[in-house]
C-alpha cells in the first residue's frame, strides 16, 4: 500500500509549527530577561555573552518541551500504528491525516512524539537527582572540610570507595530487577532522603534559634513537606497520592544519587577547606557562632559560585548517565520513550534505518551541550569578578 508523504521543507515547517508553544514560552522568558539583564544578578550576567544565551535557550527549549509535551506531540509515544512501521520521515498516517514528522521506528511508533515525551523523563530525573546529590554531598562535605581530622578521614575514605567503582559496574549491581525484590533501594533511598530534610532543619535551626515563633513555623513546614515527600518516595505511601514513584524509577534515582554525591562531597570539602582559613570565618568563630551556623551560613554562601557551575555540569552528566542506563537496558522499561532506550533500540538497526536513531541522539547531545554552555558562561562571568 502506498502512503502519502511530505517533502523536506514541509517536514521542517511542521516541526517548527509543532514546537509553537515552546517558541512562545521562550520568547516570553528570554525577551524580558534580556531587557532587564542588568538588574538580574547572576542570571542576568549569563545573558551578557553569546555562549550564555545559546546555552540558556537550549536548556529552556527542552524544559518547555517537557512541560508542553502533551500539546507538542501529535501521537501517543507508546501507540503502535502497524502500517507506519519503519516509515520514512514525513510519511502521512492515513487515519488521522497527520504526518510522522521524523518517521516511524521498528515498532511503528512516532519517533517525533517519543523524543518529545522522552524529554520529560530526562528533565525530571536528572535535575532532581542532581539536587539530592548536591544536598547529600554538601551535608557531608561541609563537616569533612571544616573539622578535618578523623571526620574527614572516615568520610573521604567512604567517598573514595564509591568513586573507585567504575560507574557502569555500580549500575549493573544496583539497578537490576533482582535488587528491587530486596529492600536495598528503599534502604538507600531512606538514608539519602534524610539529608535534604536534615539540611533544611539545620539551616533554619542555626539561624533562627533565638526566634522560637518563626523557627517553629519553618521547622513545621520543613518536616511536613519533607515528611510528605519522604513518605511518597521511599514508602510509596503518600496519603494524597500525588507523589508516587515506580519501584524501577526509585531504583534509578537512588543509584544516580549514590554515584554522583561523592563527587559533590569532594568539591564541597575542598572549597570548605579553602574558605575555612578566611578572616570572616575567624570573626564568626570569635563571635561564638556554632560550627553548623558557620558552615551553612558563612561557608556555603561563599562557595556557591563553583557549586552552581558544578551543578550545571552535573545535570548534563546525569543526563548522560541516564542515557547510558537506557542504552544498557537497565531500570527503565523497554518501551519507555527516554532517549537512552531509544538510542539502544535504533542503534542496533542502523544498517536498515538511520532515521529513528538520529532524533534521540541529537536531543540528548543538544541538551547536554546547552548545560555545558551555561556552565561555561557562568564560569567565565565568575572569573571576571
Amino acid at each position: 500500500m502506498h502512503l502519502d508523504s511530505i517533502g523536506f521543507p514541509a517536514i521542517a515547517a511542521a516541526m517548527i509549527a509543532r514546537f509553537l508553544p515552546v517558541w512562545i514560552a521562550l520568547a516570553a522568558i528570554l525577551l524580558p530577561s534580556f531587557k532587564f539583564r542588568k538588574r538580574l544578578g547572576l542570571y542576568g550576567q549569563l545573558l551578557e555573552t553569546g555562549v550564555g544565551v545559546a546555552g540558556l535557550a537550549i536548556c529552556l527549549f527542552w524544559l518547555f518541551t517537557a512541560v508542553f509535551a502533551d500539546i507538542i506531540a501529535p501521537f501517543d509515544p507508546l501507540r503502535q500504528i502497524v502500517i507506519m512501521k519503519n516509515a520514512a520521515p514525513g510519511t502521512i498516517e492515513p487515519e488521522s491525516g497527520l504526518p510522522f514528522i521524523l518517521g516511524g521506528d521498528r515498532l511503528a511508533r512516532d519517533v517525533f512524539s517519543r523524543v518529545v515525551f522522552g524529554s520529560q523523563i530526562v528533565l525530571v530525573i536528572a535535575p532532581a537527582a542532581t539536587l539530592f546529590s548536591l544536598m547529600v554531598g554538601t551535608m557531608l562535605g561541609l563537616p569533612a572540610g571544616y573539622y578535618g581530622g578523623r571526620v574527614d578521614g572516615v568520610l573521604s575514605f567512604l567517598a573514595n570507595l564509591v568513586l573507585a567503582f567504575p560507574v557502569i559496574l555500580l549500575f549493573y549491581l544496583l539497578v537490576t530487577p533482582g535488587i528491587r525484590e530486596t529492600a536495598i533501594p528503599q534502604w538507600l533511598g531512606g538514608v539519602f532522603l534524610v539529608f535534604p530534610i536534615a539540611f533544611f532543619v539545620m539551616l533554619f535551626w542555626t539561624r533562627y534559634a533565638s526566634r522560637p515563633g518563626l523557627l517553629a513555623v519553618q521547622l513545621g513546614a520543613t518536616l511536613l513537606i519533607g515528611g510528605w515527600i519522604y513518605a511518597g518516595l521511599v514508602f510509596d505511601a503518600d496519603p494524597l497520592r500525588i507523589i508516587s514513584i515506580a519501584p524501577n524509577e526509585l531504583n534509578i534515582f537512588v543509584a544516580v544519587v549514590f554515584a554522583s554525591s561523592p563527587g559533590v562531597f569532594r568539591i564541597v570539602r575542598g572549597l570548605t577547606m579553602d574558605i575555612r582559613t578566611r578572616d570572616y570565618i575567624a570573626a564568626a568563630q570569635t563571635r561564638g557562632e556554632s560550627p553548623w551556623y558557620i558552615m551553612l551560613w558563612e561557608v556555603l554562601p561563599n562557595a556557591r559560585g563553583p557549586l552552581i557551575v558544578d551543578a550545571c555540569l552535573r545535570i548534563g552528566y546525569t543526563a548522560i548517565l541516564l542515557g547510558a542506563l537506557g542504552y544498557f537496558g537497565l531500570g527503565l522499561a523497554p518501551e519507555s520513550p527516554d532517549w537512552g532506550t531509544a538510542i539502544k533500540e535504533s542503534s542496533r538497526l542502523l544498517r536498515a534505518d538511520v532515521h529513528p536513531a538520529l532524533p534521540p541522539v541529537m536531543a540528548l547531545m543538544s541538551f547536554v551541550l546547552g548545560l555545558n554552555l551555561v556552565a561555561d558562561a557562568l564560569r567565565e562571568q565568575s572569573m571576571k569578578d
Partner: protein, 345 residues
C-alpha cells in the same frame, strides 16, 4: 615520599577489600543466586531443583566463609559427591583441588566462569589484552589531539581560534560514546562506506584501520573535549604569569615563549586529569566494546554482570578497581615529581 606511597598502598588494599566485600554481597543476594541457578539449569527447573543446585555447589554456605575462600584466607573444601564420597569438581569445565587447600585470589585462582564455561583467568586475561590494544590507540589519538587543541586555544585567550576551539571541545564533551558511536557509524560506515561498522573481526583477525578506527575515535571524542578544556585553562593561567611577560619583553618570539617556557608548566595539570580519566574510561570501554562487538574487558564485564557470573564479575571488579586506584596513585606521585613546588612530606 616513601612512607607516603606505603600509606597509600595500605589504603588501596583496604579499599579493595571493602569493595570486593560489597560486590560479593550484592552478587550473592537471593534473587541473583536464583537467576544464576535458572541460567545454569533448565528454564523449567523447579524451585526445589534450584535449591538443590545451589546447595550442591556451595552457594548456601556461610557468606563470610565463602568470601574468605574466594579471597584465599580460608581453605576451599573439595566438593564431595554424596553417593560415592569422591571429590568431583563443581563445574565440569574447571579443575578443582581434591583436598582442602588455600586457593583464592591471593593464590592467583580467580575461580570459574559460569557464563563462558572456562576458568576465569582463561577468559579474563585475553580480554584485558584486547582492551589494552584499544586503550593504547585511544590514548595515542586522544592525548596529542586534546593537548594540541588545548594549547592552541589557551595560547591567546579570547582570540577567534580560542573561541572556535573552545566551542568544539565543549561540544565533544557533551557527546558520550553511545551518541558519537551512532553518529560516526552513520557517517563513516553507511553514508561514506569508508570504515567497518563492527570491530568483531578485530578480536580474532587482528586490528586493521577499517575495523578499529570507529571504536577508537568514538572513545577518544568524549575525553578529548574534557582534556582540551583542562589544558586550555592551565595554559591560560600560565600565559598570565610574570615569567612569560619577562620572556616576551626580553625579545623572544611568541613561538619560542610558548614552546620553551609555557608548555612544560602548562602540561602538569592535564597530566593529572588524564590519569583521573581512567574510571570514566572503563565505562566508555564497556559501551564501545558492546556497541562495536569487540571482545575485550568491557564486553566481558557486561556479559558477567548481566548473567550474574559471580566469579568472573568479582575478578572484573577487582581489576577495574585496581586500575582506578593505581592511576590515582600514579597521578598523585607524578604530580609531585613533575611539579617541583610540591613536595609530599
Amino acid at each position: 615520599m616513601q612512607s607516603f606511597i606505603i600509606r597509600r598502598l595500605g589504603v588501596m588494599a583496604l579499599t579493595m577489600l571493602c569493595l570486593t566485600l560489597i560486590v560479593f554481597f550484592l552478587v550473592n543476594l537471593e534473587p541473583n543466586l536464583r537467576r544464576l541457578a535458572i541460567s545454569q539449569m533448565d528454564m523449567r527447573a523447579s524451585i526445589e531443583d534450584q535449591e538443590r543446585w545451589l546447595e550442591r555447589n556451595g552457594y548456601r554456605q556461610n557468606f563470610l566463609m565463602r568470601y574468605g575462600q574466594w579471597l584465599g584466607v580460608l581453605p576451599k573444601q573439595p566438593n564431595l559427591d554424596a553417593e560415592t564420597g569422591k571429590a568431583v569438581p563443581r563445574f565440569p569445565y574447571c579443575r578443582e583441588p581434591a583436598s582442602a587447600r588455600f586457593s583464592g585470589v591471593l593464590q592467583g585462582d580467580f575461580g570459574c566462569s559460569t557464563k563462558f564455561k572456562v576458568p576465569v583467568a582463561q577468559k579474563l586475561f585475553p580480554a584485558l589484552g584486547a582492551t589494552g590494544v584499544l586503550m593504547f590507540w585511544v590514548m595515542a589519538v586522544m592525548v596529542p589531539v586534546s593537548l594540541i587543541i588545548g594549547v592552541l586555544a589557551g595560547m591567546r585567550e579570547g582570540s577567534r581560534t580560542d573561541r572556535a576551539l573552545s566551542i568544539a571541545s565543549i561540544t565533544t564533551a557533551a557527546t558520550p560514546e553511545y551518541i558519537s558511536g551512532v553518529i560516526f557509524t552513520v557517517i563513516f560506515a553507511f553514508w561514506l562506506g569508508w570504515l567497518n561498522g563492527s570491530a568483531a573481526s578485530a578480536t580474532h583477525q587482528g586490528v586493521t584501520f577499517h575495523n578499529f578506527t570507529l571504536p577508537v575515535i568514538t572513545m577518544a571524542t568524549y575525553g578529548t573535549g574534557y582534556i582540551a578544556r583542562m589544558t586550555r585553562a592551565s595554559m591560560v593561567e600560565v600565559m598570565a604569569q610574570q615569567y612569560i611577560r619577562t620572556a616576551r619583553l626580553k625579545g623572544l618570539s611568541f613561538r619560542a615563549v610558548v614552546l620553551r617556557h609555557a608548555l612544560r608548566n602548562a602540561l602538569i595539570a592535564p597530566f593529572t586529569v588524564i590519569m583521573l580519566q581512567f574510571p570514566w574510561l572503563l565505562t566508555g570501554v564497556a559501551i564501545v566494546e558492546v556497541m562495536f562487538r569487540y571482545q575485550g574487558f568491557g564486553f566481558t564485564l557486561i556479559e558477567a554482570a548481566s548473567n550474574n557470573d559471580i566469579d568472573l564479575l568479582l575478578a572484573c571488579s577487582l581489576i577495574s578497581v585496581f586500575v582506578v586506584l593505581v592511576t590515582q596513585l600514579v597521578s598523585d606521585v607524578g604530580y609531585a615529581v613533575l611539579n617541583p613546588r610540591i613536595r609530599v612530606q
